[in-house]
Symmetry: C2
Subunit: 408 residues, 2 copies
């Protein structure tokens, strides 16, 4: 009988712990899996020998239910980039020595693009050097930019939060009898999925957001100002949703002037200030009231309005990862395959990790209106099932209760 290790990595989401709960629940139920370890701070936990047994913590279903409703990574996360094997074989040796020392037969890694790169590298090493550890990636990212899967766990909850918040800001921005422009900046470096989700705020009585700009389309300042003016003439209070990562046709970030120049370990620039740049542009060039609103980290960690569909799917994909690994699969990322839009139906299948790692899935050009200021009906059809339903939370003093890993 072999043991398993689970790690979480990358930015937080509202659903990453639901996937963890799925993996734990399924692993605890299997007779061919012994101890279930959590690796603290992703793969760094394995490298530093910081793992913790989870069996005792999750003897009761109520603890798994609390885990599902807790945002962010219960086990912590890392931004560690695993080197290529040829550049640093010792790291691989260290990881697999650790696996062998703890009789690890299964490694589940819940994460986004960068984490799938880790899964890819570790499973290639395991294959090449005949290591008997089955390595499975469980996708997670609010950005929805992983290939091979219809969507990613975490995206639906972020989309629901964004749509709800944009709908409320639409109410907020329309109360005064004057012309105004409210610009909401939404996460998304290269992929506009999250910003596109703002379209769900619209109703027949309320067309806000009036304009939606994604990073997939080069941003043209003149066109933007013209489109905003047209909407002001029609609606007075205009709402614009914009991805943090919009760039001009030369590839320069619109936010560049306002950004810090800092970047993370993967070389990703910290983007912010796009709404502020556009706010100033509107105030200077159009002269009306303008306000920029940055939705910030709540997009990824707001679990209090999570999509029940998302949480349930996130848990299911975690369970399926265990089932697949037990059947002998390795070097795979679990993926959602949508079977139907209405009624919504999907299956969960393993996809080759090499096809999923280090790729970004952006919004198809045909789902963006030709003038670049909106999304098409296909986007609504795609998004709508993902935000359905709400969780019945276990509450504590008026707030959803969270499960926090006891400090060692």
């Amino acid at each position: 009988m072999k043991n398993c290790i689970i790690g979480q990595s990358g930015g937080p989401t509202a659903a990453i712990n639901a996937s963890l709960a799925g993996v734990i629940e399924a692993a605890l139920q299997r007779e061919d899996i012994g101890l279930v370890y959590g690796s603290l701070n992703g793969i760094e936990g394995v490298l530093k020998g910081r793992i913790t047994p989870l069996n005792g913590l999750f003897e009761h279903q109520s603890q798994l239910d609390l885990l599902v409703q807790t945002p962010s990574s219960f086990l912590g996360a890392c931004r560690y980039k695993l080197p290529e094997y040829q550049d640093d074989p010792a790291v691989y040796q260290q990881i697999f020595d650790f696996f062998n020392a703890h009789q690890i037969g299964f490694f589940f890694y819940i994460g986004g693009n960068d984490s799938m790169d880790t899964v890819d590298k570790l499973s290639r090493f395991a294959g090449q050097f005949h290591q008997e550890v089955r390595i499975i990636g469980v996708p997670k990212t609010i950005d929805n930019d992983l290939p091979c899967t219809d969507h990613t766990p975490g995206f639906g909850s972020a989309a629901k939060y964004i749509a709800s918040t944009v709908k409320e800001i639409g109410r907020d921005s329309a109360v005064y009898d004057l012309d105004s422009v409210t610009i909401v900046e939404i996460m998304g470096r290269n992929a506009g999925w999250l910003t596109a989700a703002s379209c769900l705020a619209r109703t027949p009585q309320s067309p806000a957001p009036h304009l939606i700009y994604l990073p997939e389309v080069p941003f043209q300042t003149d066109l933007f100002l013209r489109q905003v003016k047209e909407k002001i003439a029609q609606f007075h209070n205009v709402m614009v949703c914009v991805s943090e990562g919009i760039r001009d046709s030369a590839g320069n970030y619109i936010c560049e002037g306002a950004s810090s120049g800092l970047s993370d370990i993967f070389g990703h620039k910290y983007l912010s200030g796009t709404a502020k740049v556009l706010e100033n542009l509107v105030r200077d060039q159009i002269g009306c009231k303008a306000r920029g609103v940055e939705l910030n980290v709540s997009q990824r960690c707001a679990s209090h309005f999570a999509s029940l569909t998302d949480l349930q799917e996130a848990k299911s994909i975690g369970k399926e990862a265990v089932r697949c690994a037990a059947k002998g699969e390795t070097g795979k990322m679990m993926a959602f395959c949508r079977q139907n839009d209405t009624p919504y139906r999907l299956t969960i299948e393993p996809a080759a990790i090499s096809l999923a790692a280090n790729q970004e899935k952006t919004v198809p050009p045909s789902w963006i209106c030709c003038d670049g200021s909106d999304v098409t009906q296909e986007m609504y059809t795609y998004l709508l099932p993902l935000i359905q339903g709400e969780l019945s939370f276990v509450m504590e003093n008026g707030l959803p209760k969270h499960l926090v890993l006891p400090q060692a």
Copy 2:
């Protein structure tokens, strides 16, 4: 039989329409009140002759229920400042001529400090010139800074949203194995009630936010840095909640350098950028990872996680306003009188508007810890009942449904 006019004014809240629903429901039920008009954009609607009959719109209870769950001002708002009578008697004449022409016997004004000033001035005029219009203020402000009332409708929902969001950001900010400081900027120019509500995010397992700074206490940069360093040594990932309006001992806003210099019609400066200033300070002076998060307008308009207690109280105070006016009261602001903390009980009473208008109720010094970096147990006891319960929303496509005033 007389008619009534209802207006809403000032910044949006999640509960201002619950108060409107209360006034409408009670007014529609009375045989001594005929038509129920809504004044569009506050008192400006009366001045511009823009009022709309509400009787037909709210024949069905389901419409009132939708109104309760809709954030921001259903009737729109204004920031119009009524001049003193001696400076511009014609405005008063115009308002009361309009009231008389429409046989208005009751004017209900739902708003914050500035709106209570309007109620005060109009009722003084009515008294002095024997106008038979009863004028009642219904309090509303997320800032909770109105005197004469235990708390204000709208505050409980904002507090619940802030506490929930801060709790989630606490999870979000603790995932990496490094020292970090997350600074959350919360609304509050002079009164720290909203920022204080962040204390509700704490649990025995999770002490974030570790530091809370209110505008009632002069902000000392050196002390702040020392307190942050102490918390880093103890907790590694430190969360700080801070009011947008914190000032140094000379009265200068900490955010001043980053702010626009713009101010509104009431002379209030637009404050923002406090978190950004402190983020840079921490990065420069302490050298660890730092992130500023501005909660922004969602604090006031996020209804999707409204406090049921707040919504119910907001509706009740609207109904009581009608009952009081029908009994002959005028020149009053309706107020909550807390009878008990545990179990929580309150009554609703009319307070003299002259005592409520143009006053700000700040956090009592005894509810702030002596080093200025936290609140005391009294604050918890005060806040906890206000955030209890959640509404069962009428949903539409996965989001709470809103009621929008049909365009004329």
